[in-house]
Structure formats: C-alpha cells, structure tokens
Symmetry: D2
Subunit: 359 residues, 4 copies
C-alpha cells in the first residue's frame, strides 16, 4: 500500500478525498495536515465548531481510524513521510506549499494554483493521458523529484469528456455553453446563503467564465514533446448557480469542423474511453460517457451518481437549427466526484500505475 | 367600465387574470366561464376539490364578489353579453371557441391556438404595437366584428423586450439562448412533480424550443400592410426547468449586425419604451427594461416582481469573446405576469385605448 | 408627520423597517444610523459589498430618497433629532445604546435586549395593549422621557395571538408545540448555509426554545399596576428550521382549563381583535386571525402575506385524542412582518396614538 | 437461493424492493407482476411513459436482468411459482389478492390492507420479533399454508424503534409528536405537486394521524399467545409534509412512567438491539439506533442513509420542562428504506431464518 497524505484535510474537498479513499486497494491515508488552527488536534476534534457541532459535511460516516488521526500543520509537513500527497488546499497556500512538497514527492492537487503553468498538464481521466509526459518536463525544468499534477476546473470536467470524442471524430470549431452549477462547488465556509439559493438562480459565479473559456483548449490540446499546443476552437460561456446540491449541468451548442449527425455523435460518445476503462483503475467507471435517449435526462439528482460519480451523462443530442455543422446537447458531471477529489484520485491512480509504475 | 368575461376562469391562468383585474380602472369582470364540470356552480365552489380543499392557487385572496359569481359553460357562453373576452383556456378548446366569440367580440387570449396564423399578430406591450393593424386584416379576412389577439409564448417575452432596442439600434444576426424556466409555467393540474423538481433541473420542456426559435422573428418582424414580414435572424435554444416558482431567466448570446459596446447596449435598453410608458396604461410599468450593474442579478426571486411583474430585468451585459459583434447578457421576466395574464391585460389596455378607442 | 430614525438601518431588519414605512401616513424616515463601518456613506453605498453587489435583500425596491440619505453612526446619534427611534440593532449594541436614546426619545425595538426587564412590556398588537401602561413605570423607574418598547420573539408572535382568545374564553393549562421556522429568521450575515437548508430540516435553533417557553406567559400575563403577573400555564417546545423563506408555522397542542369544542375555539378566534381593528392603525390588518377550514392550510408560502403579513392564519382546529380538554391546531405568522419590523411598527402606531397621543 | 416475486413491481415501492434485493445473498427475484396495463411487457418497457421517458425513479440503475424480465399480471399470478411474495401493491388490490397468494405462499407486504387484523402482527425488525408467533395463529385461523406479514406505517417506524428501549426501561405514559415527513412518502403517480412543495410546508397528510396514534400501541404490545394486547399509552400527533426527498423526522415529547434522565435514555437507546444485530440479517444495520450529541442533528439529508437507511438516528434528548418524567427528543428514519421496502425485506429475512427456518 502506498502512503498518502491529505493536505487541507479539514476542508470539504479534503473530506471528500478521505471518503474517496475508504477501502482503496492501493492507497492508505497515513497522514493528515491542515492549517495552524487545526494542527495538533485529532481530526474529529479539529472539525468541531464552537457549538460542538461537527463540520464533517459528507453523508458517509467519518472513518474511525481517520477520526483519531492527529492533524499536522501543512506549512511544516514533511513530504518525505509519504509516497503521494493529495493537496486539497485553497489556491493561496497551494501556490506556496505545493512546490516545497514537489521537490521530493508527487503532489496531486485539486487547487488551481499551477493549472496554467506552461510545464504543467491538467489531466482528466481518459481524455489526455498522453499529457502526463509533460510532468517529466516539469520535473526537469524545476529540478523536482516529485511533481504537481492539478485537476481541472470542475465545471468543464463533464464538457471536456464529452467533447473529446467529438473533437477526435469531427473536429470542433466553436462551443457556446451555459452551465447550471450545483451549490457544493461554492464550498462550505460559509458557502452560499440559503436565502440566495432557495427558489432562485444566481446568474454569475465569480471568476468562473474565464476558466471555462480557456481550460478546455489546453486539456484538449496536443503534447508537442515540450509543452501543450492548445486546441484552436473558441468557447463562450455563461455560468449560473442553481439550487442543486451536486452535479454541474452544461447546455452545449457545438459547431464541428466536419458534418455529423446526432446519431454519429452518440456513437462516438458511447464508444469512447474503452481503452482507458480497460486499465481497470480503482476509481474509473465502466463507461466514461453514458448517452441517454430519454429527452428529460440527464438530471442532476437522478444521474450524478452514475458510475460512482465518475460517468458523464449526455442527453438531448440533436441538430442545431442555427449553426452549420451544429449539434446541441446537455451533459452532466458530478462536480465533487469527477470534478474534484475523486477525479484527482483517478488521475493519481493512472500516474501511479502508468507514469510512476508503482503498482 | 367595460364588461369583461374570463373564459377558462377556474384554471391557474384564469385565476391570475382575475387577480390582475382587481381594482382595474377600466375593466370589470362581469362573467366567468369554464368547462362543463364547473358550469352552474359558484366560482368558490367550482374550485373545491374532492377533499374540500380550494384549488385557488394565487397568494392574493379571492375577491369576495368573484367567489360568489356563477360559472357559465364556455361552449354555450354568449359573447355579446360582455365588451371584451379574456380567454385563458387551453389550446384545444381555444381553437374551437375563440373564433365563435370573435364573430362579435374582441378576444384577448393567453392560448397559443391562433398565434401562428398569417393574419394574427402576437402583440407584446411596447414592442410591436404597429402590428395591431393586422387585426383589421384578420377582421376583414374572417368577417369578424371582434378579433383574436393572442399573447406570446411566456419564455420569449423577456427576450423579445430586451432584443427590440438592440435590433433597432444595431441589428441582430443570431441569438443563442438557454432558458432556466420557472415551474409555474407548467401549470397546476397536476403540473410538475415535487420529486422531479426538488434539488434538480429538468433539461427539457416538451414543445418549447420550436416556439422559442420562431416566435421572436414574427414579433420583431415588420408589418407590411397585409401581413408580417418576419425578422431574419436565427435562434437556437435549449430550454430547461429549474426549481423556481416564478420568473423565466434567459442567458442570451447575441450577435449584432453592427458593432456595439456593452455600454451602448445598456443605453439603448435603458432608454427603451418611453413612448409606450407615456401611454400610462394601467398595467404598464414605469420602465419596460431595468438594467442592473450588479453582476449577481437578475435573480428570479428578487427581481421578478419589479414594475408589478411587468418590467424585464437585464444584467451581465458584456462582450462575447467568441462572436464578432457579440454581446452576452441575462434577462428575466415574470412568466405568469408579463408572460401571461397581466401581459395579455396590458395588450387589452392598449387595444381598448388605441385600436378600439373605447377609453 | 413624525420624524423617525432607523438605527441598524443596513441590517435585514432595518431594511424591512424601511420597507414597512414606505408611504406611511404618520411617520417619515428622516435619519438612518448604523455601525461605524457604514457611517458617513450614503445608504445605497453603505449596502454595497466588496463585489459591488448590493446587500439590499428586500424584493421591494429601495426608495430613492432613502438610497441617497447619509448613514450616521449609531453610537453618536442624537436621539433628540427625531420623534421616534426604531432600533433594529443586534442585542449587543441595543443593550448599550437604547437606554441612551430612551433618556429623551421613545425607542421601538426589534432587539431582545430589554425584553425580560421587570418594568418593560412586550407588546403585541391587539393582545396586551393594557401592558403599555408599564412603560410609565419604566419611565419613572429610570428617569427617562422616552422609553424602550421591545417586540416579542418572532416564533411566538402567531402563537400568542391565537392563544389569547382561547385563554380569555376557556383558560389555558398547558401548551406543547413544535415550530417549523422560516430561514429569514436567521438573518443574512451570513445567515443559514444553502448546503444545510436544501432538501433538509435542521431540528435545532440556538437559544430559541427557552424564549418560546417563557415569553408567552409574560405577554399573556396581567398588568398589576406595577408589573406584569405572568400567566401560569406551562409550555414545552421543539423549534426546527425548515427550507421556507418566510413564515413560521407552529403545531400547537393546547390543554384548556374549561372544556371547549373545535367550533367554539374557531368562534372565539374569528371574533377576536375587533376592537383593536377598529383603531384602524395603518399597519393593522382587517382581521388579526383568519381561521381556515381547508385541512391543508395554513401553508407558509400561500398564507403568510394575508393582511399585509399581519394576519395570523389558524387551521386544523380539532379535538386532541390524548389530553382532557385538549385541542390541536396549526398557526402561521409572517416572521419578518408581524414577527419583526412591521409588528414593531404596529406597536409604534398604537403607542403614538393611544399612549403618547401624538396623532 | 429462495425465489422471490415482486407484485406491484412497476410502482415506486416495487422499484425500491427491487433495488433492496440487488446482490442479496438469500433471495433472488424470479418473477415480477403488476396490473393489467403492464402485464405482458418486459419490465423496462412497462416503465416507459407516453413520451418514451422511463418511470424508473430510483437513482440506482435498473439491473439489466430485471429490465428484461417479463411482467405478469398480478390477478392471475401463480403464487406457487415462488418461495416468497413481496407485495408492494396499493391497499385496494392488496386486500383482494394477498389472501389468495397467502393460501400457499408467505406474503411480505408493504400495504396497509391487513395491518389492523386481530391475527396479524406488524413486525418491525428488532422491536417485536416475538409477535411473529401470531402468524401461526393467522395461518390456523385462515387455513393458510402461507401468511401475510405487513410492514408498519412509515412515519412511526423510527418512533417505535426509539420508544421500545424507553418503554422497556422506564415505561411510557404518553407521547405527543409532530412529524416532518418527506415527500417520497406520497408516492409518484402523480405524488405531490412541485408548486405546493417548494419553499413551503403542508400541515396535513390525509389519513395519517389516526394511523400514527394507534399503530405504535399494537407494535409495542404484548403477544398473549392468541393475539396482541396493545400497549396502554396514548399518542397525539400532528403530521406535516416538508420539502425533503427522503427521511421522516419526528419531534417527540414522551412522558415515562418512571423518572429517567436524558443520559439514561441515551444509554438504553445506544445499547438497544444488540441481540437482533447479532442475527446478522443481510439488511440489518450494525446499530438499530444511533444517538447523536450534535444539537443540530439528526437532519434528513445528512443522516437518513446511516446503516444503509436502516439505522434510526436520535438527537436532542433533553428534559421536558412541562411534563413530570418528561423527555423530549428528535428521531429520524429513512421512510422508503426502514419505513418501506427494505424494512419489509429485513422482516422477510427474519421470518425466513427464524420462523420458516429456510436458511
């Protein structure tokens, strides 16, 4: 078993990372770290608020051995005490601490701090595994034994998985999208106000649209041996917040380079990712994409947990009446599973098996 | 006071029509009609279900004089007993009965039955009042003393109001839109299931997208003297249902003919509709469009009631990074006020004052 | 017109006080005050957060003349510059500042700071107007020209209004109650988390049950000339928070001293408060209590706005199968209207007319 | 493996029964039956509505072998073709068909049709297993080889589990309770309206309170050898519906015969059910009751899935200020798991192992 540290363990993403690792066949959490405020306490105690109420926000129960584990301080954490580091810190501390850890130890990160660095790939399971080779460039550039491998923005995770087979088969010229994003994406401290999110929609998410309009082109770009040549299509997005707990829904209008019918698009999506699935990584689903013919689906509450929260559900694939070579569809991905901790875990599994070759 | 009949009075739109007419300075409800099932009962009794519970769904109290009014049968209703008919029936009975009424009496309709007829305008307050002249063509064609004036689809009401000044000033080349529609639009018998609409989004509304993709071009078309020449821009839409009671939100991506800045778009929207407002119709708001600079607005729950539910709120006007001459914005309209009974009432007021010249 | 200051004007209760006073026939807001952070700014500016988004949380629009009014600092506010002070501050600053204001000026308060003082009544419109005489005792005791008149806890406002006629007619021996409270009662900075309040119930509200179990006995007590002799019945309560915006629902199990039928209870409730209504105070409803026979009512969203949010709706009055002389019913009151700013305003109107005799 | 038929398989409870049986170690579904409308179709086809949309309402995927199973007609179903019948029909058909099946085959039923028969126990796992002996009386009385074993009303399932240890240790004199019930309890065809259940509470559930006020006394009664002598305490209840998907919350005010402290009540609850857990039935949880010290819990969304939806969570145990020997607490049970299909399955497991001795 490889020894794993969760850094940022008391936050909601850290909690989800812990839950994702329950009963994992390769990885065992041996260390927890967080900010100074939590350091020195047992994990269970570190989560108690002033009222004695627990800030453990997962519906899965806190594993007993984790509850009793001491929380170390992130800033003084010894990265050589573990084999892999899961960083679920916020962008600020991640920017400072992840490079220190990476000197000696691989860092899988849910933070955005290094996502836009030239020598850093944004890996999404089954989509761009060849970009993993950029980590060797990063290691060489920076003189690190470890590396930093960040996950993508959670909103685009599902879009990118669904676009990849379309791009490969027909080319993509442009994407217009509106996201209907779940509230869990806004975190928990304090997160969104119930008075704002009841029987309401908030049509803006700070800082989201610029990420959504640029990350996919990097993820879907080509690794040149030294860096990634971004895909050339443009994206325009409006990102909204809806009263849903988990599951980001994206309404996509895609113009392809070559003509394609909805049936052809369905076929390439359904057939997509078989090779990746055959790696049988512990967190990978049987199907990366599930295409539904039910016009009323995908729905966040009904479809987000498909494939353990790792399958993207696509529905309503139809011809676009406006754009030449246009198709429209709706896709759904679980933002705190595929789009966050569990997606990062899947990447870690891939890297451990195929890049580090440790299992 | 002009005598008004509400036909379809027991349905939710009929109820909203009744509420819209409380204390109206020109109109007085003197007749109610509905299907055979309700005919012969007092209105209050006609609304009681098998449990004795009232199917009055408005939060405003049922006016006492309406409660005690007898409900006549729509199929045998005498249209000459009133001055104006408000038809809030479903499309089926509307198709059959409205022409019978229109032989003698003006019919303002919330049904879609006649919306797509060549000689029938779809009037939206302040947007296309010149189309009212098409009613004379309709009257002549059909040998009617009255007419049928249907309201628009509720989803596009806000979009069309916001597009009109943009079209006038800069031209419109194409519109890509995603709607986040309120549940009240699906009616009440039985309407949507709570199990479907709690903590969820349903990404499909039967029959909605074809209407949304074609009605605006008629509404924003040019009256030629004989018919309406549809506007030439294309629309593509995805229509979704969100857990909101009232208020349809539309995320619009608009490509204009001429270049325009967000500031210019804001200016033409803010200045729009003054002439119409100066008619001082009882149901018209002071401003047809309110443009907000708060990036988190418009929000359905917070903004839908602006201007008595008759003002369209536009926010997030910004440059589109993908399309040449592209702008993006979000607009909100109250679907059961501007988009339904109260919008139809505003049209009635306009026609009574400027077309029929009865007040 | 009497000059009114709103102290704590930037908070949600202060905002609701402002909205309650729009177009008031007797009162005119001439001053606004808040904490140091807001002082010196125009009201509109004081409400802007770091994103430029407005923290104006009412669906009614901010009145233009209020928007441009300067905000003074509460701690240095000159109470002699107005005729009446509305204090909507939190309990902490209220405890310190209200006595300073009361030296010269009547203070109507929504805070709990003075609620439990021996010489201070908790006035609820139509319930215990005779307790107003205790204010003279307070003024004498403390050497104040003004006074402090606090409103009740919002949860019990509806219960107390519904209990009063029962107490008068049949006596009350005990009350068992469960409240299903709206989220607006928890305020807005930050208020409740959307992740806690979506598709969920929180079965605890800090500090609420002790207030609910003791305040009604004071409010329903007898004024002895010097103080209030508390009513002798006992109350046990469980207070829960439900995903409702406004409107506290209370499920009450009441044991009366004398036998009574549900019909008798209905009758005394329906007939209750006529004398008070005939004072025609601007904020008073036509009926203090509305009794519904619809078994599915009262419902918060449908019934909270009855009587401008000032009418208590009672339903499901029925015999209790367990307790001798037991009746059960459900009552609903608008927690941010009757239970907060507008309820305090109604008290102010009563005091101005009948105690201060200023109108 | 024992052969199981699900009768009423197309309904929501039937679907939940199917899900509960996925991968079951003792039971294998070999037959499905439903009404005439579905008979003769494959299960997957039988669930399709007019729009081609599936009425499969579980978030778990429909097992492929079930999807392809033919649906037989309930009225002509041959009960001898299986070992155990799960009846998830409505009360009407259950009343007629269950006795026919029971002539030859054990029937585990989620319907209420036989719940109140003298010779029929209402079994709840771990609470009243000795009542199973009444089934022999039923078999003898009616000349059946099989039997009918109905589950309890879903609302009281959690209450009864939590009351049992209190009754055993301290005696119970009376119970006052308010339920906050989830929407799934109202079924799906059509179930509750989204317009009623959004941002709202409905304070009435048809026919619920009489069941809640009488069933617990039977379940907690004593088996006398011939029938059940009901427990003597009284219950009064108000049952409300709240916007929660799953999980019925009960606020209980319990007066015990003997004095007891909250700590003592906690202790008897925590220690309760060990013997039953040691039977290691496949659907039984490790703990029948989980007592939480967090004052803000139990919460439906966070706690309903504990123990696979079979653990009752109790919180807020505290002294009652009104009643002598009074305690108050809040308890939560998953209404569609413990309170419905999975609870019935647990009973089936018990009966198969300890009464029928088939495994």
């Amino acid at each position: 078993m490889l020894r794993i540290a969760i850094i940022g363990a008391t936050g909601i993403v850290g909690q989800q990372a812990i839950v994702s690792l329950i009963g994992h066949p390769w990885f065992k959490i041996t260390k927890l770290a967080a900010s100074e405020r939590s350091a020195g306490k047992k994990y269970r105690e570190a989560l108690k608020d002033a009222n004695g109420s627990s800030r453990w926000w997962c519906t899965e129960e806190m594993p007993e051995e984790i509850a009793n584990m001491p929380v170390e301080e992130a800033s003084t954490f010894d990265p050589t005490s573990v084999d892999i580091i899961f960083s679920t810190m916020d962008a600020g501390p991640a920017k400072e601490l992840e490079p220190k850890y990476a000197k000696t130890t691989p860092v899988i990160s849910t933070a955005s701090a290094f996502r836009y660095e030239e020598d850093t790939p944004i890996l999404i399971g089954g989509v761009n595994m060849d970009h993993a080779a950029l980590l060797a460039v990063q290691q060489k550039n920076r003189g690190w034994k470890g590396f930093i491998s960040p996950k993508s923005n959670c909103t685009i995770a599902g879009l990118v998985v669904s676009l990849k087979p379309v791009l490969d088969a027909f080319g993509v010229k442009q994407v217009v999208m509106t996201s209907l994003q779940a509230m869990s994406g806004a975190g928990r401290t304090p997160g969104l106000s119930a008075m704002d999110m009841t029987e309401n929609v908030v049509p803006y998410i700070s800082g989201e649209e610029p990420k959504v309009e640029t990350e996919p082109q990097k993820i879907l770009g080509k690794f040149t041996g030294k860096t990634i040549s971004h895909a050339s299509f443009g994206i325009t997005a409006t990102c909204t917040r809806v009263p849903v707990i988990d599951g980001h829904l994206v309404c996509a209008f895609v113009q392809t380079e070559k003509p394609c019918t909805p049936e052809e698009v369905k076929r390439v999506m359904v057939n997509y990712g078989r090779e990746f699935s055959e790696l049988h990584l512990p967190s990978s689903p049987a199907h990366l994409i599930d295409v539904t013919d039910d016009p009323f689906r995908p729905q966040p509450r009904m479809d987000r947990d498909k494939g353990g929260g790792m399958t993207v559900t696509v529905g309503r694939i139809r011809k676009d009446p406006l754009f030449e070579n246009g198709i429209k569809y709706v896709c759904l991905a679980h933002n705190t599973k595929l789009g966050a901790a569990k997606g990062a875990l899947q990447t870690a599994e891939y890297l451990v098996k195929n890049y580090l070759k440790l299992v």
